[in-house]
């Protein structure tokens, strides 16, 4: 039988120190452990209950205070103090309130390189797969065990091969590609499986766009979403890290569970309707839906290119918000925030009337920041629109690209951004 391997099989074999194939349960060395203020407090409890005394590799652990940034209650401020004390005691990197979302910090500060095994106690840890790492979400107990032992148990997943083909249709964004993929796979279409991206058009997607697609893969249940290393990856990593990326390629003849093709020439702008990210329709079909709150941010849609794209649409639309629309802007990280300050983008958002909030998860999961009012329709660049997700069960959340969100901010309704200006 052929021993040709997928990228997931290769990375997990390397980290388990033995030959492993899909279906095997292996114990792997971990390159990076991510914890947030939403998951690290519980992980610290587990660490203590596991009789943890020291962190095995302090330099391979990173915490970010991102979900309650700034703290939204005395209790959440207390979570922060607990995480700070643990980080200090064990000499673990702590990203303070305002530093941003763990997933964004991990990629932009060079903590993740191609070939790494990353676990994080947050489902959107898959984001780092855009750099060619095997990055997967786990629970708090798993990161506690990994802090103590340096290891994690994993079942080696089967892989779905995603072929990106075709010349990109005008106006098509990474968010549309990602929502289309989630809709095609369905909410558990990639459960227990990894996605591996290939195809002649993959090279036309920027690293920021790949991060959007890898991020949303978990909405189809994917365990990891891996974009193979190429010159764009190398250019992104250059200057961010001294570590040498280990380029991992899939073997010829590797076995895939199936192949899904995404033809960029045949794709159109999309929107996810309440209350599930796979509840996707063509943007055209949702045009006219009244919107009272627009949220630009998160580990999906909170990067520099997202805010530039949104601002361009806002400016084409006259640089004014529709009456009754609240626009909330939350950069994914301080690096993003400072970039947007330096190039004048945030000043323009401010002048337009946006509420600009602390870098972090912001309004995404109702833990901090702007909570929608009763009955409000929200259009958001986030990745999840479950009922009550933003902290109000009577609000309805729609998901779309930064461009479509900006268009709705201008008109007060879901609007095709191509029709603005």
């Amino acid at each position: 039988m052929s021993n040709a391997k997928t990228i997931s099989e290769k990375i997990l074999s390397q980290h388990a120190g033995k030959d492993a194939s899909a279906g095997d349960v292996v114990v792997c060395d971990v390159d990076l452990v991510l914890g947030t203020d939403a998951s690290a407090p519980m992980a610290i409890d587990y660490f203590e209950r596991m009789n943890g005394e020291r962190v095995f590799h302090p330099d391979r652990v990173m915490f970010a205070l991102d979900h309650y940034a700034p703290p939204s209650s005395p209790k959440t401020a207390g979570f922060h103090d607990r995480v700070r004390a643990f980080a200090r005691q064990h000499r673990v990197e702590l990203n303070e309130v305002g530093a941003g979302i763990s997933h964004q910090i991990a990629v932009e500060t060079g903590r993740v390189v191609t070939g790494d095994l990353v676990i994080g106690a947050d489902s959107h840890t898959v984001t780092a797969g855009a750099l060619g790492a095997f990055a997967t979400g786990v629970g708090s107990s798993d990161i506690a065990a990994a802090m103590i032992t340096g290891k994690v148990w994993l079942r080696v997943p089967e892989t779905i091969r995603v072929e990106i083909t075709g010349q990109r249709a005008s106006g098509l964004t990474a968010k549309d590609i990602a929502l289309g993929l989630v809709a095609e796979l369905g909410p558990e279409g990639a459960n227990y499986q990894a996605l591996e991206f290939h195809g002649e058009a993959l090279g036309t997607l920027t690293v920021e766009e790949r991060l959007v697609i890898a991020n949303l893969a978990v909405e189809a249940g994917a365990k990891a979403a891996i974009v193979p290393h190429d010159e764009l990856t190398a250019a992104y990593l250059a200057g961010r890290t001294d570590r040498q990326p280990v380029s991992v390629e899939a073997d010829h003849g590797a076995r895939y569970a199936r192949t899904v093709t995404v033809d960029l020439s045949a794709s159109t702008p999309l929107v996810a309707l309440p209350h599930a990210p796979d509840n996707v329709v063509a943007l055209d079909r949702a045009v006219g839906t009244p919107i009272q709150m627009v949220f630009l941010g998160t580990c999906t849609g909170g990067r520099v290119s997202d805010f530039h794209a949104a601002l361009a649409v806002l400016e084409r639309g006259g640089g004014r918000l529709a009456p009754g629309v609240q626009l909330v802007v939350t950069p994914a990280s301080r690096e993003v925030y400072l970039h947007l300050v330096a190039d004048g983008t945030l000043a323009k958002f401010g002048a337009i009337g946006a509420v600009i909030t602390t870098p972090g998860c912001g309004a995404c999961c109702g833990t901090s920041g702007a909570i929608p009012g009763d009955g409000v329709n929200v259009l958001s660049t986030a990745n999840r629109n479950f009922n009550a997700r933003m902290g109000n069960a009577t609000a309805s959340i729609y998901l779309a690209s930064p461009e479509a969100c900006a268009a709705a901010a201008v008109t007060g309704r879901i609007t095709d951004p191509a029709s603005i200006g």
Binding site: G137, G139, S141, I148, G221, C365, R384
Partner: protein, 173 residues
């Protein structure tokens, strides 16, 4: 070794995400599952938490526990006295968190189980089955790798690691 659990089925649908099990916004006030258990599944049914009895068994459709990887979604179910969840399928992060906390996740055909049915789970190393007392119908659960059985037998990852540490210290090994 076969563990037997008998309980009342609490019927849920497909794609029950962890935010529905316990909403993130509630975590602003507490991370204590004995407090958060008051809000178990409140977005779906505000009366649910008050109606739960110890030894109830959650019976769901496809993709149970999708969305956020938050482990509190498992510990809050345990805090309600529920020891097993039976579903057509599980999202992988919930499945993992269940095993790591000693909550038994059983993947099997659940179509025949209705709200209030008395179900008997026989959870063995080699065979997992769920019997419905209403009609005597038995469904076989998807097998689980031995490694996951070992973690469950230890009561979760805490017990598993403590056991591993004590075995390493033991002079007989």
């Amino acid at each position: 070794m076969t563990r037997e659990i008998v309980g009342r089925a609490r019927r849920l649908g497909d794609d029950i995400n962890t935010d529905y099990i316990v909403t993130s916004a509630r975590k602003r006030d507490s991370l204590d599952e004995t407090v958060l258990v008051r809000y178990l599944l409140e977005t779906l049914d505000p009366e649910f938490a008050a109606s739960v009895r110890p030894d109830d068994i959650l019976v769901a459709g496809r993709n149970f526990g999708c969305g956020s990887a938050m482990e509190i979604a498992v510990t809050v179910i345990l805090a309600a006295g529920i020891r097993a969840v039976v579903a057509q399928s599980f999202a992988r992060t919930f499945y993992r968190n269940a095993i790591n906390n000693g909550l038994i996740p059983i993947e099997c055909d659940t179509e025949n189980i209705a709200e209030g049915d008395t179900v008997t789970i026989r959870f063995g190393d080699d065979r997992i089955e769920v019997e419905n007392a209403r009609d005597g119908f038995v469904v076989v659960g998807r097998p689980m790798p031995p490694f996951m059985h070992d973690i469950l037998k230890a009561g979760g990852l805490v017990g598993y690691l403590r056991l591993a540490a004590s075995e390493m210290r033991s002079p007989t090994r």
